[in-house]
């Protein structure tokens, strides 16, 4: 999903503001939001892909206007309502007012995720190109690398593909890689390289291997 959460390379957000001596939690509600979030994971309300996608589906201006623990709260509440464990009416009655949830999931449901891939298709040093695709559901492939060429620099673990686990009752495992992209390739001008960690199916071989 090409949402506002996919921030890599976006411009116009201004300066990074560092708060000296920042506490772990700024307000008691942040601590309680963390308690609720960890609890909902223990209750099995979401896997990682489902939870991240529930945050990505927040209204874009709500996403930008709110901080991290409000994202968690909104995502967790959305998932619990979608799982039928609570209702939005219950929530708003208890709250005494509106409780904004995330937008509906528009990802394609995957009934058959296919077989696990356990062998790495690429070796360190291989040139690869990131596929150009724009799925309406969850993905961990940032938009700023799509269609671009990079070089495999590290082979990591075989792990569940987030794009599938977010939209399927099942899952598929694939190798993951760290891929180096030169600045000129990404941005059209010289600069420092960026390394992005990508699942096997995000990548295609290039003619320049």
């Amino acid at each position: 999903m090409d949402g506002v959460h996919d921030l890599g390379g976006m411009q116009g957000f201004g300066a990074v503001v560092v708060e000296p001596g920042e506490p772990v939690f700024h307000e008691q509600w942040e601590r309680r939001a963390a308690v609720i979030t960890f609890g909902s994971f223990l209750a099995g309300a979401s896997n990682g892909g489902q939870f991240r996608h529930s945050i990505e589906r927040m209204d874009p201006s709500h996403y930008l206007d709110s901080t991290y623990y409000e994202h968690w709260l909104t995502g967790v509440a959305t998932r619990l309502v979608e799982a039928g464990l609570i209702t939005r009416d219950d929530l708003e009655e208890r709250t005494g007012g509106p409780f904004p949830l995330s937008r509906p999931d528009r990802g394609m449901r995957v009934d058959d995720p296919g077989a696990d891939v356990t062998e790495a298709r690429f070796a360190v040093g291989d040139q690869v190109r990131v596929r150009n695709w724009h799925p309406p559901g969850h993905t961990r492939c940032p938009r700023y690398v799509r269609g671009h060429k990079g070089t495999i620099v590290r082979i990591d673990i075989v792990a569940s593909v987030p794009d599938i686990e977010a939209h399927s009752p099942s899952s598929r495992n694939e190798p993951t890689y760290s891929v180096r992209f030169e600045a000129a390739e990404l941005w059209g001008e010289p600069g420092d390289p960026v390394h992005v960690d990508l699942w096997d199916n995000y990548l295609e071989p290039t003619d320049e291997r």
Binding site: G8, A43, L64, G97, P98, P142
Partner: protein, 200 residues
């Protein structure tokens, strides 16, 4: 704060965040979905037991023990677990080493992935749109803005933690600290140097 549902043409102001959090917690407790007594302990652990003091011990050890450093760079997860640090957001740790020719910096553009066992929960700026958007596009300029000037001859390597790996930067040991003990060295190591937005 302005969270609204629906379109901005027909704003529906949200309830205060404190009310929303309290309502959801009460609802989940009443329904028996969460057990806050157990969870309070977990969150207290995250708040007080995890943090940059853990990562600093890893760095301090690597500075005094070349064999540990070798193992740390070869397999971060295992070497870090030797010191007792492991757990969620730390199952696959990769340590990237700063040298005179390479400076490393970590970011998560899609959300806010961060190596919890060694650095704790992330600071707000790490999770903010300005940091997430700019660190991949203009790392050198952003580091300079944040007070971290990197020599022109040094390559900056940005690591976007978009999959399962969580990164820790191994900063260079400051000049003139060769005679210090491991504990003294550990005390020099800052959170920002292990993210890569500062040098020591």
């Amino acid at each position: 704060m302005s969270a609204e549902t629906g379109t901005h043409h027909h704003p529906r102001p949200t309830s205060p965040i404190e009310d929303r959090v309290a309502a959801l917690e009460a609802l989940l407790v009443d329904k028996g979905i969460i057990d806050t007594d157990a969870l309070d302990g977990i969150v207290e652990h995250y708040e007080h037991e995890l943090g940059p003091m853990n990562g600093a011990k890893v760095v301090g050890r690597a500075w005094v023990d070349p064999d540990y450093k070798r193992r740390l760079l070869a397999d971060g997860t295992t070497a870090i677990s030797e010191l007792g640090f492991a757990g969620p957001e730390g199952d696959h740790l990769v340590v990237v080493e700063n040298t005179p020719s390479v400076h490393n910096v970590i970011v998560c553009t899609l959300c806010s992935c961060y190596p919890w066992p060694v650095l704790g929960l992330p600071p707000r700026w790490y999770k903010s749109p300005p940091y997430r958007s700019r660190m991949v596009r203009e790392p050198r300029a952003l580091l300079r803005e944040m007070g971290c000037e990197i020599d022109d001859g040094t390559e900056i390597r940005v690591w976007d933690s978009s999959a399962e790996v969580r990164y820790l930067v191994l900063p260079m040991q400051p000049d003139g600290t060769d005679g210090l003990t491991e504990d003294e060295l550990t005390a020099l190591v800052t959170r920002d140097s292990m993210i890569g937005v500062a040098v020591l």
